[in-house]
């Protein structure tokens, strides 16, 4: 990522711009001095449109603040609680006096540290529902027992690893709490750069600037994902990115790509790209070339890792790349700000930065292709808090989408095309298996999202369990495959009215009449619950203009408007509507009440 000096990082913070941005409140609990991390966090936050405000707990007051909460450091407005609990301060025995300890003493001290972790963690959660990011303990670079250490399972390293395992388990059980692995940061830059012994002794500040920059980058991967700013699509140039040389000039046998140097650098880069696809990232090409030359490489080069079917969209032509990126985004139903662009040409990179600044750019290192793989692996733009089944299958789903588009051209009218897809809908109330994907959809969906209310797993669980709320999901299959859970409706029942708190569909399934069937089903649910009217809500954002008239188009009337929120009403006393005829099957459990008790925690 950016390697600006500390002064440049501070200088890059634009006070005027920051003042108008929404706040991101970070509370830092620590037993060491880490204050210089703040400019890095603020700079990263500014990059995704937030004004980060960091507040520190007193030095070595983790327990007091977590349990006592007197200082008001943690409160319901906190967005993120960041914990730096360093073993050197927490347990001198385990960190620096380990060699002298007898097994029973080790055990007793480990127990004490575990109790501390449990109490502090529970104390934080009592005061705030915010995301907890807890930095795990660093492993010693020179372990207490030297080379004998790794031959036994009660050496210092093993004991600290056990503490980290324990911490991960505690955080995992808590929910919305994550383990940040400082050992990754340490390994990336090396211990000699990670620690600054001068400030450890002078000011109890163990970490160098470089270390704090690395830690801030790591911490921000979590925050970016929480705030719904994970990127969705990687758009790649071809010549000198996927292979060395120019296909148009060097030809199929002349380009560099293979298992040995120099082609191996490109081979490894392609593998890293493919790994992202397995995590749910969509791949696209944007290249100035003759299209047929590029596809020939994909088809005929023996060492291509990427195949044509991995590519969801391509613009291979001689036109302006900014326009091409806009077209790719439109074709994939994504916002430009979901795209990441990779190109070896400074000209193209600068063009995108000025004409399509929403697009994130990965700058390829000047070391050349040998450094490409790591640059991609390090960027963190695509990191998500969880990887769902839908993520793992996404690439295949986009491929199916391409087949659908091909088929669409064969049909004269839309309805017979829809019928040919053999679509089957499954509509159910949220259960423990669907909750992670449902909350993920509320966090990631921007365009077909009527109110853009974002919910965590815990929120959805609460809504699903509530007496007067219901969470409905939609799953779609067709002859090309299973799209998984692609629609969510949150219903709130208040005095014989069903309020559509949210209604959203994944951009992948738009344009197939699915929304009509889903809405009709949800309305039928409201009728079954003896509601006299349905209230649809629309809250405009920068991205959901396309659904501004969704409720009007479906027979609702505008009844109220204010504070940006528009409310629409549809009477249900004479409701007689049915789903469009072209679905092969609609398997719905909304028609019966017994399903209401279906949601059981931990069943």
């Amino acid at each position: 990522m950016n390697r600006l000096s500390y002064a440049q990082v501070i200088g890059g913070l634009d006070a005027e711009q920051l003042a108008v941005l929404p706040r991101l409140k970070i509370a830092i609990l620590r037993n060491v001095v880490v204050e210089p991390i703040v400019p890095y966090l603020r700079r990263l936050a500014q990059g995704i449109g937030f004004n980060a405000e960091a507040r520190f707990g007193g030095y070595d007051n983790v327990y007091q603040e977590a349990v006592g909460g007197e200082a008001g450091l943690l409160n319901p407005e906190t967005d993120c609680a960041l914990v730096f609990l360093r073993l050197e301060t927490l347990s001198w025995d385990l960190s620096r006096n380990f060699a002298s300890l007898k097994p029973a003493e080790i055990e007793a001290e480990v127990e004490r540290v575990k109790e501390f972790i449990v109490a502090a963690q529970a104390g934080i959660r009592r005061q705030t529902q915010a995301m907890i990011l807890w930095c795990g303990f660093e492993l010693p670079v020179y372990p207490a027992l030297g080379i004998a250490e790794r031959q036994r399972d009660n050496g210092q390293t093993a004991v600290i690893e056990e503490l980290n395992r324990f911490l991960r388990a505690i955080l995992g059980r808590q929910g919305n709490a994550y383990f940040v692995d400082l050992n990754l940061c340490l390994a990336r830059i090396g211990a000699r750069n990670f620690y600054d012994q001068r400030y450890w002794h002078i000011a109890k500040a163990p970490y160098s600037r470089e270390a704090l920059r690395e830690v801030a980058d790591e911490v921000f991967k979590y925050i970016r994902a929480m705030k719904g700013h994970s990127k969705k699509c990687l758009t790649l140039d071809c010549d000198n990115v996927l292979w060395g040389g120019t296909i148009g000039e060097d030809g199929l046998s002349g380009i560099k790509l293979g298992k040995t140097h120099p082609g191996s650098a490109y081979y490894e880069f392609q593998q890293e790209v493919l790994n992202l696809r397995h995590r749910g990232v969509i791949l696209a090409l944007c290249s100035k070339n003759n299209e047929e030359d590029v596809w020939e490489v994909f088809r005929d080069h023996p060492d291509m890792v990427l195949r044509r079917e991995h590519i969801a969209a391509a613009r291979i032509n001689w036109r302006d790349k900014a326009d091409n990126l806009r077209e790719i985004a439109a074709e994939l139903n994504l916002g430009l700000d979901s795209l990441v662009f990779v190109d070896d040409s400074d000209f193209e990179v600068n063009l995108i930065r000025s004409l399509a600044p929403e697009v994130e750019v990965i700058e390829l290192p000047k070391d050349g292709a040998i450094a490409y793989r790591e640059a991609l692996a390090a960027c963190g733009y695509f990191d998500t808090l969880t990887i769902t089944r839908e993520d793992a299958e996404r690439g295949v789903m986009y491929q199916a989408e391409a087949f659908r588009k091909q088929m669409q051209r064969q049909y004269q009218d839309l309805e017979s095309y829809y019928a040919s897809l053999e679509m089957a809908l499954e509509i159910r109330l949220a259960d423990e298996f669907s909750i992670p994907r449902i909350s993920q959809l509320t966090q990631k969906t921007n365009q077909f999202n009527l109110t853009t209310r974002r919910y965590s797993d815990a929120d959805i669980e609460r809504l699903a369990e509530g007496e007067d709320t219901e969470v409905v999901y939609l799953r779609l299959r067709d002859r090309f495959g299973d799209s998984g859970i692609v629609g969510v409706c949150v219903l709130r029942y208040e005095s014989e009215r069903a309020v559509f708190d949210n209604f959203l569909l994944s951009c992948r399934v738009l344009g197939r009449g699915v929304e009509d069937a889903f809405l009709t089903q949800c309305l039928k649910r409201a009728v079954l619950r003896q509601c006299e009217a349905a209230i649809g809500e629309y809250y405009p954002t920068a991205k959901n203009n396309q659904v501004k008239d969704f409720y009007l188009r479906h027979g609702f009337e505008l009844v109220a408007e204010g504070d940006g929120l528009r409310r629409f009403k549809l009477g249900l006393t004479t409701f007689a509507r049915s789903e469009p005829p072209y679905f092969q099957r609609i398997d719905s459990e909304l028609g019966t009440f017994c399903n209401r008790v279906r949601y059981r925690k931990g069943s």
């Binding site: 500390y6 002064a7 204050e35 012994q197 001068r198 400030y199 000011a203 600037r209």
Partner: protein, 81 residues
């Protein structure tokens, strides 16, 4: 180099550069606390490509000493900064 030091002190301590002079020191600049001292030393190291020892750091609490230490460091490096 003297001006560069003034500029860095001004930036780190959030004091207008006109108010920085040879007499400026931790004692007469309010923002010059232990945290900002750390920030200042790191900014100087970054700017001059230097690295100060813990003992130097504890001495560099006024502009005169800072300039002296930076000058000495630069002459070792055979580079006037």
């Amino acid at each position: 180099m003297r001006e560069k030091v003034f500029q860095i002190v001004s930036q780190v301590m959030m004091v207008p550069v006109e108010q920085i002079n040879e007499q400026s020191a931790a004692q007469n600049i309010e923002a010059w606390d232990s945290l900002n001292h750390m920030n200042l030393i790191l900014a100087l190291e970054e700017e001059f490509g230097a690295r100060f020892s813990d003992e130097q750091i504890m001495r560099m609490l006024d502009i005169k000493t800072i300039i002296a230490e930076v000058t000495e460091m630069a002459s070792y490096a055979g580079n006037a900064g």
